[in-house]
């Protein structure tokens, strides 16, 4: 292993999306088939499993996607997204409980609270890079945890805060099966927004900042402002997920702002594959299911399993699930392309291979 190997790994991660896109463009139908399949799966999920868990998967998928915007696309590891998730959870519950706000308004307030908190936290955090950024976000999230712990009159401290049973336009949604369908459009909208951000010129700058911040700075882009922008967008999505999560459970607890929640989000991203967005959905499905299964089996020490998965993935499987799938796909595409070119332009195949290699 060398610095060169590391930079190659980084470039592979970066090119992963691009190459898959190229492969997709070659067969435009594939993208739509995948998307339709994914949507169908999302809609069918509460039939396939215990409905509250189905919605937990959706919420954690969006939280992980929010973390991935920073980690996978901007190169910033946020270890403090529990702050936004948890703040939104408390805000949504307080809005419902104290002010009797209807569901869309409670969600909106939760999202706004997370976004507002993200501005000062992000402003300070983006001054730091690399590992420093992770430590600073973790520390600020812990500060929010202590605030939530002490501000008992609002948050209920260790007892948590019970919210009203969810309803929408007079329809009672306390059945988790129904709530899933009320909440899913919000989650899908969040995922669509993340996808839109990544595939916009703004997203291109994000990736450029990840790969070479000094050059982006030299090109005249305000790097700090871009990072802050991504941070606020990411926190907003985390807030959307956290608010919906609390409303679906009718409960907000200190667990939502604790560092283990931040760690869970990061773990989902790393397991699913950094910088892939969809990997977070897969990761969320696996992690939430696993935790549900373990606690159902009466196994209290979930950290033994999740921690081991974390260690194994980081040591041996850094591309994650989706990233590995992309990698395999890319290799197949290349293998099928090279012989064809060899036939058409004999004698130049070496150069071609060099050029098409990532």
């Amino acid at each position: 292993m060398s610095v060169r190997a590391a930079s190659t790994a980084l470039r592979e991660r970066m090119d992963g999306a691009g190459v898959t896109e190229r492969a997709m463009r070659a067969r435009p139908g594939v993208r739509w088939v995948l998307l339709a399949g994914g949507l169908l799966f999302a809609v069918a999920l509460p039939w396939l499993m215990y409905p509250p868990i189905a919605f937990d998967i959706a919420c954690f998928a969006l939280l992980a996607i929010a973390v991935d915007l920073l980690l996978g696309y901007t190169g910033l590891l946020s270890f403090g997204h529990a702050a936004f998730w948890g703040t939104a959870a408390y805000t949504a519950t307080v809005m419902g409980e104290r002010f009797g706000a209807p569901l869309p308004l409670a969600v909106l307030a939760a999202v706004l609270a997370a976004a507002l908190l993200a501005v000062p936290v992000g402003y300070l955090a983006v001054k730091c890079t690399g590992i420093y950024f992770a430590m600073v976000t973790l520390a600020f999230a812990q500060m929010i945890f202590f605030v939530a712990n002490q501000w008992r009159t609002v948050t209920g401290g260790e007892n948590g805060l019970v919210g009203p049973p969810p309803e929408l336009f007079g329809i009672d949604l306390s059945d988790p099966f129904l709530f899933y369908y009320a909440g899913l459009p919000f989650i899908l909208a969040g995922i669509a927004l993340a996808w839109r951000v990544v595939h916009s010129p703004f997203g291109r700058v994000m990736v450029a900042i990840r790969d070479n911040p000094s050059r982006v700075q030299a090109l005249g882009y305000p790097v700090h402002r871009y990072k802050l922008g991504v941070f606020v967008i990411s926190a907003t999505l985390a807030g959307l997920a956290g608010g919906l999560f609390a409303i679906s459970h009718g409960f907000a607890s200190l667990q939502e702002v604790y560092w283990t929640t931040s760690g869970k989000a990061v773990m989902i991203v790393v397991l699913g594959g950094m910088g892939t967005l969809w990997g977070s959905v897969v990761g969320s499905y696996l992690v939430v299911q696993l935790e549900y299964f373990l606690s159902g089996a009466g196994f209290g020490e979930i950290g033994l399993v999740t921690g081991s998965i974390f260690v194994v993935v980081v040591l041996l499987f850094r591309r994650g699930i989706w990233g590995s799938a992309q990698h395999l796909l890319r290799e197949r595409v290349q293998r099928s392309r090279v012989p064809a070119e060899r036939r058409s332009r004999p004698g130049r195949d070496d150069a071609e291979q060099e050029g098409s290699a990532p």
Partner: protein, 290 residues
Amino acid sequence: MVNVIQQLFNGLVGGGFLALLALGLAVIFGMLRVVNFAHGAFYMLGAFGAYLLLTEAGVNFWLALLVVPAALAVVGMALERAFVHRLTQLDPLYNFLLTFGITLILQDLIKVRYGNQSQPYSRPALLDGSVNLGLFQYPSYQVFVLGFAIVLCLLVWLLLTRTRVGMIVRAATERPELTRSLGVDVGRWVTPVFGFGIGLAALAGVLAAPMRAVHPMMGSDLIITVFAVVVIGGLGSIFGSVVAGFGIGMAQAVGNLYVPALSQTLVFILMAVVLLWRPTGLFGREGVLT
């Protein structure tokens, strides 16, 4: 006034723990460019190690103070060889994630055996009383902890500045490539330095056992505060981490006296102020973090 001085003293004792942990973190970071999330877990293991030796084998505090850090330092070295080492050439974030996973495992391993509750550990008989510090009576164990922490920090400082090993470690921290090109085998020192840092954390854990709750989560909550301390002191600076450790300890104690509501959040507020004013920390330099 006496009250304030007593609080300052409390703060110094608390700061001693922060300083010892921050010091170990800084030494490891300097040599390996790894921020060791598992540092808090090893602090916790130190406390549980002392508890375990006492209850299972009747080993007293003083012996535990020697044996436990040494044993955990060996565990730390094995950890470095087996896992951390494989990732040091990659983005440092990977090792942060790795040690986070290890933290989860270590914590829950202890929980399997002891559940999610505190274990009692009594003070050593020799230090059970209190001493008269002129203005007030103070538990002698706390006085011992403070003295021990200060002596230990001084010893590490002497080790780093006055010995050949320390010179190599400092040189490797500042300019790893240049140190290598001068014919020093830097790689040989990586594992011992990691073990040494872990040993310091474990030592802090043994010291904490008689005065703080011996609990599986005691390390993780503390390590996040230590991260804030390290950010305030400057991640690359060993001196800064020790000064910030004692300073934050005192600030917390005095803050606790005047604004009790802020006692837990103060350190993070201070971190925010430092980030505004000096993003590299009070004693940090540009370019240490890459």
